[in-house]
């Protein structure tokens, strides 16, 4: 599993590589939190949600957008991402854990305004799943 930052002039772009779809989603969520916050977070708070999408890339975009919403609206820094995805890759249930945002512990990141769909495509290459993510900051 790798998270590599790619070049993008205006925003922040990552290439996520993982051995399966579950890990690809988890690593994508970690990349999002890495941009927004610094430091470590524990698991004082948990949040659960389910989403349904038409296809896999939409599922990933909705998953990340939901985490972004919860994090921004409730000021939570998430660190744990327990997820289950159905066989058709259209339904996801997530059980997230994290800590309340504390500036001295977690400050220093950038607000992410949204998860762009530009170039968002999950590829299966040599047994690895790869996606390029673009976060508007």
């Amino acid at each position: 599993m790798t998270i590599i930052e790619l070049d993008h002039t205006a925003d922040i772009r990552f290439r996520i590589t993982a051995v399966n779809i579950h890990d690809l989603f988890k690593e994508s969520a970690k990349a999002l939190m890495c941009v927004m916050y610094s430091g470590q977070a524990g698991s004082q708070i948990s949040r659960k949600f389910s989403i349904k999408a038409e296809n896999l890339h939409e599922l990933l975009s909705m998953f990340l957008s939901e985490i972004l919403y919860l994090s921004d609206a409730e000021n939570i820094v998430f660190s744990g991402f327990d997820i289950s995805i159905d066989d058709t890759y259209t339904t996801l249930s997530a059980d997230l854990s994290g800590d309340p945002f504390i500036r001295k512990n977690h400050g220093g990141g950038s607000e992410v305004k949204g998860i762009s769909l530009y170039g968002l495509e999950i590829k299966d290459k040599d047994g690895m799943y790869i996606v390029d993510l673009l976060f508007d900051v």
Partner: protein, 482 residues
């Protein structure tokens, strides 16, 4: 994302480059990018492709335009302008961006540089403590749900009614600080819950509050009309609709992706999700976007109020002696009437990283700017010049009343952080007499002046083209970076 050669661009004049039909399949009109030779060297293939993508959208009229601060974004390029026929055309959140009504306003004080020089550090520290800044910051203003409703309906007027400003501020905002078609009912509960604690906060990234001095006047007559003269201390505020607007964009990209399929609109980029302007989905987005735009005007109004209070406290400046020169949006779609082939045409004009630049005698201008055209505020990068310009008839004729919005990035944030540290940038700026305050050094490195095009060259191009004309140059003295 296929990369195309820049060699197939056609030079139409010293400052105009054409993206010809056929650059990518499905283009309905050509694209035009306004660039000088030196700015052309910074042009990215990804940004040109995004101009071409915009040109494939249904109902686009005349051309897909890009201003000289063009850079690679998502959906439209940053610096993109396109107008769509209201009957045949579309509306797209990809032509507005996540930060709906990200914009900038300029506040003029009666002070001069010598009045503030000994208190500059204290000034910026006090402003930093007063205006919540950075990730996770929350407003000290409690906004109730009914108040949020009014904020989304009446924008800057709501803020002034709450005591955050002067009634004269309202007419000095684009659209008088409130788009009339806003419908809070179209804004989701998620968006509302993000907006409630963030009214009057600056945000992060390229958002800033900058104390500036007017260093040069290019057009004394219009500068006088705008109320600025050499030596004046001004404050420039750059931010948008915060989490509320971001969520509205996210919500509507999902619904407009489905709408694009329903209306059989072929998309070359998923971020260009769209629907016909007057479809149910298009109307819903427009009214939610307008509500977010109004939130942004109220947000900047509150920040300006807090700024005035700081000046009053530190310099005993009369609150009423600090006047808003103007407030402009640079991420918005608006229904406007423009001349098309000699006839007035109702169009949906998208400006993404582009500023409205309405010329003399245009609608929506206050009477005191009717002869000059509207003030156009172009921020520089941290440490470089910002500019005050005015809108022109040429802009009305050529670009649907639009011009550039800033310097435009040339380098990514990650590259910036590898090249220079925030501490180094801060020290370099301090040597030039500019104090920078930010939640952390990384954000200073990311927004270092080195990663931006020259704002001077960008405004030179729009000035030479005549789509806005120079009035004044402002230099930074102290900056809060979000």
């Amino acid at each position: 994302m296929t990369e195309h050669s820049l060699e197939s661009l056609i030079k139409r004049s010293e400052l105009e480059w054409e993206v010809p039909i056929g650059y990518i399949p499905g283009m309905r009109v050509p694209g035009t990018i306004f660039l000088s030779e030196s700015l052309k060297k910074t042009l990215e293939p990804g940004a040109v492709e995004q101009v071409a993508n915009v040109a494939t959208l249904p109902g686009i009229v005349r051309r897909a335009y890009a201003m000289p601060d063009i850079h690679w974004g998502y959906g439209f390029p940053i610096g993109g302008v396109a107008a769509f026929d209201e009957e045949e055309g579309i509306i797209s959140p990809g032509g507005v961006g996540f930060d709906i009504n990200c914009g900038v306003r300029l506040l003029k004080t009666p002070l001069t540089e010598s009045d503030i020089s000994s208190k500059k550090r204290n000034l910026i520290e006090t402003l930093y403590k007063t205006v919540p800044t950075g990730v996770g910051s929350r407003s000290d203003i409690r906004i109730s749900r009914p108040e949020l409703e009014q904020m989304m309906l009446t924008g800057a007027k709501w803020a002034v009614k709450q005591g955050y400003g002067l009634s004269s501020d309202i007419i000095n905002c684009e659209a008088e600080g409130a788009m009339p078609d806003a419908d809070p009912g179209a804004v989701s509960d998620k968006a509302r819950s993000r907006g409630l604690p963030q009214g009057g906060t600056l945000g992060s990234g390229n958002h800033f509050l900058e104390v500036q001095v007017v260093k040069q006047i290019y057009d004394p007559v219009i500068a006088n009309t705008f109320g600025v003269k050499e030596g004046d201390i001004c404050v420039m505020i750059h931010c948008g609709s915060r989490g509320l607007g971001h969520q509205v964009c996210t919500d509507n990209i999902a619904s407009l992706s489905a709408a694009a399929k329903k209306y059989k609109i072929s998309l070359s980029d998923r971020q260009l999700a769209c629907a016909p302007v007057h479809s149910k989905e298009g109307e819903l987005y427009y009214s939610a976007m307008a509500a977010s735009a109004n939130y942004a005007w109220a947000n900047r109004q509150i920040i300006m109020h807090k700024t005035r209070e700081v000046f009053t406290k530190l310099f005993q400046t009369e609150y009423d002696d600090m006047h808003l020169v103007y407030d402009v949006a640079h991420n918005v779609a608006k229904r406007e009437i423009h001349d098309l082939n000699g006839h007035p045409a109702p169009l949906c004009v998208h400006r993404k990283g582009a500023t409205r630049a309405f010329g003399p005698h245009s609608t929506d201008l206050p009477s005191h700017y009717m002869e000059s055209g509207q003030p156009v505020i172009i921020p520089g990068s941290m440490g470089t010049s910002s500019f005050l310009l005015h809108g022109t008839k040429k802009a009305m004729d050529l670009t649907f009343g639009s011009t550039c919005h800033g310097a435009g990035r040339v380098s990514s944030r990650s590259k910036a952080k590898k090249t220079v540290s925030g501490k180094e940038v801060k020290e370099e700026l301090l040597r030039a007499g500019i104090i920078v305050k930010a939640p952390n050094d990384a954000s200073i490195a990311e927004e270092s002046p080195h990663v931006y095009k020259s704002s001077t060259e960008v405004v030179r191009v729009v000035h030479e083209l005549g789509i806005s004309r120079l009035v004044a140059r402002l230099e930074p003295l102290a900056v809060i970076k979000g």
